[in-house]
Amino acid sequence: MLKVANLVTEFASIKALNDISFQAKPGRITTVIGANGAGKSTLLRTISGLERPTSGSIKWFDEELTDKSVEAIVRSGVAQVPEGHAVISQLSVAENIELGGLFRKRQARGDLEIATKEVYELFPILFERRREPAGSLSGGERQMLAISRALVARPKLLLLDEPSLGLAPLISAQIISIVDQLCKSTGLTVLLVEQNANTALAVADHGILLALGKVVADLPAKELIADSALRAAYLGY
């Protein structure tokens, strides 16, 4: 269970997150929606340790994540697919994927091979291009690679920041459904940030609506989909 309590994250003079509290159920998808600049990415980056909160706490089951380093957080089972196609363009596709599982190499060599095979099955194009530098991939292909890198880490908590960005509709639907399956089959917990609310909420258990760094709605996903007034007020449709 991910528990975020009274989280505040500041940049220079603005409060990107202003007293955020919510919980994400284990084995479920929790979707975070909100307009541009609402603080969605900041929330994920704060959880994964890329940003330091000014106050508040983040707990993953009994583990306090708040003041840990990014590396330590990742090692305790949290993986993030950051916004934008975050790959290392000079490294080959295979190396990018290998990198994702590197910290598990000692304990889980066999499983790494399986995990790698799985993502190659998921995205055959990556297998085809595995020896090429990641920089030569198309925008969408890079996004697939970034997701793969996170998946081979076999995370328990997956933070997805706009995974559909730059992906063709078919692929983005496919990814969402894969994530959904993973939750169901492995108990993966997912925090999914999407601009386009509907597809993301459709598979989610819970929905959180952010505006100006505050939680304005924390409802079961179905209710959030249905609440057109709320959406109209905060998302413009």
């Binding site: 950051p82 363009s89 190396e95 290998e98 990198l99 190499k105 920089g135 030569s136 880490a153």
Partner: protein
């Protein structure tokens, strides 16, 4: 022995030395993403330490080992004290363009070089002194003829190739090598992969510090030791790295030998006064034909 052989042997033995320097530079470039102009400063400093120990009656090999260890420590210190704060959050926001990100560490390394030279001057008065070689520096004989190559030259060549093989395996075949390359290229993504970027980078500075230190120990038997004698070597070694391709370990070694031959043949068939000019022309030519260096790979960056 004719002029050709003279040039060939001299080029080989000097080339091995340039290769050693150049390999060290490429090591930091790939491991930490910095062109370290302080490298020969670090080499000079640790070699002085070894020299001091030898003067105080320590054996060569114990001085050798201590120098390597101090090289590692100095490298780590450079990272912890300077390079890490440099790439800190606050600064990375200030240096938001690619060109500045490569420029500023270069400048920092020049500062480190200045500081190390001045400190060496204060500690060791800056006199020029020799430094012993671990193996004999007298020429080898083949049958009845003297070869213009010494046991020490062969030793250096051996070390260069051993270092090349080991570092290549390390970088391409091991997880740590991958982690290092990744840390140098994109710290954020690397950290998100659970890798302790800070420690990895410090480690790679320590390794390159050891390599510099080794270079210092192996070049000074031929060049002598003073705060300044290694400057020129850095420039030549750097040229070698650029010619060979900054991203390629094998390229750096190749570049080192090529430069050794260029210099030796210009020396023999033209005039020593032409050497620097020849280096410049050669460098421009090489970069004109292959801007990424002979074995370097072109960076693919897409929009």
């Amino acid at each position: 022995m004719n002029s050709f052989l003279t040039a060939f042997f001299a080029g080989t033995s000097q080339g091995a030395i340039y290769a050693l320097v150049s390999l060290g530079l490429v090591l930091v470039w790939r491991g930490a993403g910095v062109v370290n102009f302080a490298q020969m400063g670090q080499a000079m400093f640790t070699t002085y330490i070894a020299s001091q120990l030898i003067q105080n009656e320590y054996s060569y090999w114990s001085a050798f080992v201590i120098a390597l260890i101090s090289g590692a420590l100095l490298g780590a210190l450079v990272d912890l004290g300077i390079m890490r704060p440099l790439s800190s959050r606050k600064n990375s926001q200030l240096l938001n363009s690619q060109s500045m990100r490569t420029t500023v560490p270069v400048i920092a390394s020049l500062g480190i070089l200045g500081v190390l030279k001045a400190l060496a001057g204060i500690f060791w008065a800056g006199e020029e002194r020799g430094f012993p070689a671990p193996v004999p520096t007298t020429g080898l004989r083949l049958g009845n003829s003297d070869l213009a190559i010494t046991g020490f030259d062969l030793f250096v060549i051996g070390v260069v190739f051993l270092a090349l093989v080991l570092t290549t395996i390390f970088f391409t075949r091991t997880g740590m090598g991958l982690a290092m390359r990744a840390s140098a290229l994109n710290p954020e993504v690397t950290r998100l992969s659970g890798i302790r970027v800070g420690s990895v980078r410090t480690l790679s500075w320590a390794i390159s510090g050891t390599a510099s230190s080794l270079a210092g120990l192996l070049v000074t038997p031929k060049t002598n030791l003073s705060p300044n004698t290694l400057d020129l070597l850095l420039i030549i070694g750097f040229t070698a790295a650029v010619v060979g391709g900054l991203t390629s370990l094998a390229g750096s070694v190749l570049g080192g030998f090529i430069l050794g031959y260029v210099i030796a043949f210009v020396n023999v068939y033209s005039a020593p006064e032409n050497v620097f000019l020849a280096i410049l022309i050669f460098l421009l030519l090489a970069l004109f034909l292959r801007p990424q260096g002979i074995l370097g790979s072109k960076e693919v960056r897409r929009v």
